[in-house]
């Protein structure tokens, strides 16, 4: 039997989703699948397009899994565009001259940005915001611009404004309507949004109709408005709405909407039953859906109609949205304007904290119809579910938007009240039931849940809700989700940190007496030890603190499998004088230690018995060395490459910067270990992008990356800020590290901390760069305190006979542990195996 030929025109988000759905079908072998991709790259995540400006690469944004086309036997024509359809012969013709026959044709051609017909709109400096190429053009144009204007104050326009703002342009938004986001937001919300956005340094002009774009005086261009006013600018970004790309359909005589769009039925079939249309080019029930979630639902309906045994229908989609625009929460649900006859609304306007909330309810006050949230959109998930599931409102609906004061019960209905069929993530069509199934399958962590269900991975609007469902379900299963540290403290690490700081608690005993029960354990003691060190930085061997330390911290060395320890002196930036190298060699030789170069650019000496530690360290300190904190949950190494001093490509002194950073942050106690690296140029020989903080030199300064990780679950660091001078770099690292120290869970590396952070990288940037929590100065002060009170723990230990005494193996004898036995291998010692040991000990004993 010959295969049915399917051609998909457009490999955008929705076209690709169609291919994915099809590839998941058991009967996919019955089809021969061909797709035409006009762009120079395969499908990528347009929703996350702006992330391209913050360092995401085209590769990061790709939606195409490795080997997807090869493995499924799908054929793709890259950079080739379909130019006509011959419906009689059922073929399509491409720009490159391919003529290909189809049995079923799918039009997934998306939309294009609408540029109003203003004279002057075709100037080189007039750009749009839709593809990666557009973004490249914007980056390029911004280099020679001081001021940029976005035409259009809708959702996309504000996102574009943020991009221009981040590129360092003085940014203006010009909107035709009297308010921003006119479609989604009411007057009250629009006003609040405007004042928040202006506070961030973007100027908003409403009720402005651009007549003409002419040569400027102080800038490259001038926009002339209908009201006689004008605005000079170097760059214009049009974001005045989208128009369906329906030209193929129009030319081949398919039925169209009066204002464009390819008319489809509930199966996404056009007026020609062999031609389907999905995504932003399709017109269903007189409407175009400019969001990705409805597009995905159309893709599903079309695949079901063509390849499925039962049909699913596209039944319209909810257009509610939640997003963070320039750090401002904005959400709009359902009938935001209260257009439903006899609907009533409640609103809450807090000018002090700049929060605006409104709900629209049915005439009888029983059902939620819509909502607008500005400044605080935490209620979004819950409200959306109330509306979508047609649930009854609480007795006093206003409790849903009024602030919760102390002691008040949480407003709204918990996630428990949601039916299993409730869609939690509309982008990826994940229901509460799907999430429960994953949890039944053993998933307990938010990050894992996201990667397995895809919930929360597109627009991110549902992230909080996904987290709530996860927690509620885990709790039901009796899996511990409370953040209690352990049975002794009903507090999370973050809460304990705040308690210690605010109440100025200096000892574990005091903390336990005031806020805990019992005697403590090997979880809460080291955690408290670390918090006390992060806050007050007293010597960890002080009697009141020593009992809190894990053996590694207590003996300031890492315990090995045989009970001996390793010794690691600090070698900042990996730079070491021959004299110090010789000293290390001589000391290792004298105490017969196994030596190895570590993965962190320093030397580790293994096999030291506990009583030898102070002796070895005395000699190391005398030779000018200090503790490397290889044992602590604290700064490990700042790896560096050789940099501009020697390397012909280096653009900054990476070794100098690495040493500066290592000497600044040495000894700082944190929830887990912290590693940094500094590379002298973009070749990145120091592998900075897999570190907690990575620094890469640029012509103009330093790029800072955060939250990278090697280890068990590698994570590439995110670009956090670019072209920083030394001072700003250190300021940001201070704030970043202190914020991590304050808010992370116990034993949580920065990568997991980041993965679990609500609001993600943008939020972190807000806190650290824009100082949105007003914490910057305090964080810096805390770091300064830690830097000022630094002492080499080993130096002060060997100077105190009291402390040195504790390194004896026995309290009642000067003998050493006879159970520690070494044999030689490759000319150095190693612990004997059990068998070797019994052989050796027997021979000796006889």
């Amino acid at each position: 039997m010959s295969k049915e030929k399917i051609i998909v025109v457009g490999n955008g988000m929705v076209g690709h989703k169609f291919l994915e759905f099809l590839s998941e079908r058991d009967n996919r072998d019955q089809f021969e699948v061909i797709t035409f991709c006009e762009e120079s790259r395969l499908a990528y995540d347009r929703v996350q397009l702006s992330a391209y400006f913050s360092g995401k690469t085209a590769e990061d944004l790709s939606l195409v899994e490795d080997g997807f086309f090869e493995n499924n036997g799908f054929k793709v024509y890259l950079e080739d565009k379909v130019v006509s359809i011959d419906r009689d012969n059922k073929t399509v013709t491409s720009a490159n001259g391919e003529v290909v026959a189809y049995d079923k044709l799918i039009l997934a051609t998306g939309s294009f940005p609408f540029v109003p017909p203003i004279p002057g709109k075709d100037r080189d400096e007039c750009l749009v915001y839709r593809t990666i190429e557009d973004l490249e053009a914007i980056t390029h144009g911004a280099k020679t611009s001081k001021r940029g204007v976005v035409v259009g104050g809708g959702l996309l326009g504000l996102e574009a404004a943020k991009a221009l703002h981040d590129l360092g342009l003085e940014t203006h938004v010009v909107e035709f309507a009297p308010r921003l986001m006119a479609v989604q937001v009411d007057d009250g919300g629009g006003a609040m949004l405007r004042s928040k956005i202006e506070a961030l340094g973007v100027t908003v002009h409403t009720e402005k109709n651009t007549k003409e774009i002419v040569n400027g005086d102080s800038s490259k261009m001038r926009m002339e408005f209908a009201d006689g006013e004008s605005l000079e600018t170097d760059l214009i970004l049009f974001s005045a709405g989208i128009r369906p790309r329906d030209e193929l359909a129009r030319d081949s005589g398919l039925e169209m909407g009066p204002r464009g769009g390819i008319t489809v039925n509930n199966n996404c079939q056009t007026s020609d039953p062999d031609i389907y249309s999905i995504g932003e080019c399709a017109l269903w029930d007189g409407r175009i859906f400019g969001l990705v979630a409805p597009g995905y639902q159309m893709a599903k309906a079309a695949v079901d109609a063509i390849a499925g045994d039962k049909e699913s229908e596209f039944a319209g989609a909810d257009m509610s949205t939640k997003l963070k625009l320039m750090g401002v929460d904005v959400a709009s649900i359902g009938d935001a304007h209260g257009n439903t006859p006899n609907s009533k609304s409640y609103s809450y306007n807090d000018e002090h904290n700049e929060v605006y909330k409104k709900i629209v309810v049915s005439e009888d006050g029983k059902k939620l119809l819509g909502s607008v949230l500005i400044g605080d959109a935490e209620a979004y998930g819950g409200l959306l579910q109330l509306m979508l599931n047609d649930m009854d409102l609480p007795e006093h609906p206003d409790s849903l938007i009024l602030p919760q004061r102390e002691g008040g019960a949480p407003a709204g209905l918990g996630v428990d009240a949601l039916p299993d069929t409730a869609t939690i993530c509309s982008c990826n069509n994940v229901t509460k039931g799907d999430i429960i199934a994953s949890i039944d399958g053993g998933i307990t962590e938010l990050g894992e849940l996201k990667s397995c269900t895809k919930a929360g991975t597109s627009c991110g609007g549902c992230a909080a809700l996904v987290g709530q469902v996860l927690n509620a379900e885990l709790e039901k299963k009796g899996i511990e989700v409370n953040n209690d540290l352990c049975e002794h403290f009903a507090h999370s690490r973050q809460e304990l940190f705040d308690i210690v700081r605010v109440e100025e608690i200096k000892t574990f005993e005091e903390l336990l007496a005031k806020h805990g029960t019992g005697k403590g354990c090997d979880i809460c003691k080291p955690t408290a030890g670390s918090i006390l060190a992060s806050c007050w930085n007293d010597h960890i061997m002080e009697p009141s603190l020593a009992g809190l330390q894990d053996t590694n911290d207590y003996y300031m060395a890492n315990m090995q499998k045989d009970g001996t320890y390793s010794v690691v002196p600090r070698i900042p930036g990996g730079e070491i004088t021959p004299e110090k190298l010789i000293a290390i060699g001589q000391i290792a030789q004298k105490y017969d230690l196994y030596t190895k170069i570590t993965g962190g650019q320093r030397v580790d000496m293994f096999g030291a018995k506990v009583h030898e530690l102070p002796l070895i360290w005395k000699e190391l300190v005398d030779a000018g060395m200090e503790s490397g904190h290889a044992y602590g949950k604290s700064l490990r190494t700042v790896k560096s490459c050789v940099g501009s001093t020697w390397c012909r490509y280096g653009v900054q002194d990476s070794v100098g910067m690495a040493i500066k950073l290592e000497e600044r942050y040495r000894g700082v106690r944190s929830p887990h270990k912290i590693k940094l690296a500094v590379s002298g140029c973009t070749r990145e020989c120091a592998e900075a992008q897999c570190k907690d903080v990575g620094v890469i030199a640029t012509e103009h300064g330093w790029n800072m990356y955060v939250a990278g990780n090697g280890g068990m679950k590698p994570r590439h660091a995110d670009l956090f800020a670019s072209d920083l001078d030394d001072e700003t770099l250190i300021k940001y690292i201070d704030r970043f590290m202190m914020f991590y120290v304050r808010t992370a869970d116990r034993l949580q590396r920065t990568a997991t901390w980041m993965n679990n952070m609500e609001g993600g990288l943008d939020y972190l940037k807000d806190v650290i760069i824009n100082d949105s929590l007003n914490l910057g100065e305090e964080l810096e002060k805390q770091m300064d305190h830690l830097v000022d009170t630094y002492q080499c723990e080993w130096k002060s230990t060997i100077e105190s006979p009291e402390k040195v005494k504790r390194f004896n193996h026995f309290i009642n004898s000067d003998e050493t542990d006879s159970n520690v036995v070494f044999v030689k291998e490759r000319a150095q010692i190693r612990p004997a195996t059990t068998k070797e040991k019994s052989d050796l000990i027997e021979t000796v004993a006889v």
Binding site: E487, K519, D522, D550, Y554, H809, F810, I811, E815
Partner: protein, 114 residues
């Protein structure tokens, strides 16, 4: 404790720091000694120093505390917990360590062991 155990003095009471272990050697045997002190109560414990899971003599360097009301020490190597009163391993029923009586007598710490 059987009768032929003798009390051996190992150090001055002032040599112990509360909640930090030490190791005593008595007739070639290594015993981890702990003085737990919390909320005004003090208890003395002795338990084998050898960690049965790694074979290393390190339990005196473990962290002490209590779990569900039982005083315990956590092995510093693989973190199993041992009940200081009974020697039972909380993570593995089949493992029980020997425990020893410890007392403070006229300013000396004494251990009952053969």
């Amino acid at each position: 404790m059987s009768n032929n155990n003798q009390w051996t003095s190992i150090c001055d009471a002032s040599d112990l720091i509360s909640n930090i272990g030490v190791c005593a050697q008595i007739n070639g045997k290594q015993i981890a000694i702990f003085q737990l002190e919390a909320n005004g109560t003090t208890s003395l414990y002795g338990i084998d120093n050898q960690d049965p899971f790694s074979g290393s003599n390190v339990l005196s360097r473990g962290l002490v505390g209590d779990l569900k009301g039982h005083d315990v020490v956590a092995s510093p190597i693989y973190k199993q917990h041992f009940d200081l009163s009974t020697g039972k391993c909380l993570e593995d029923d089949s493992v029980t360590l020997k425990v020893y009586s410890v007392r403070s007598n006229e300013g000396k710490i004494e251990v009952a062991a053969q």
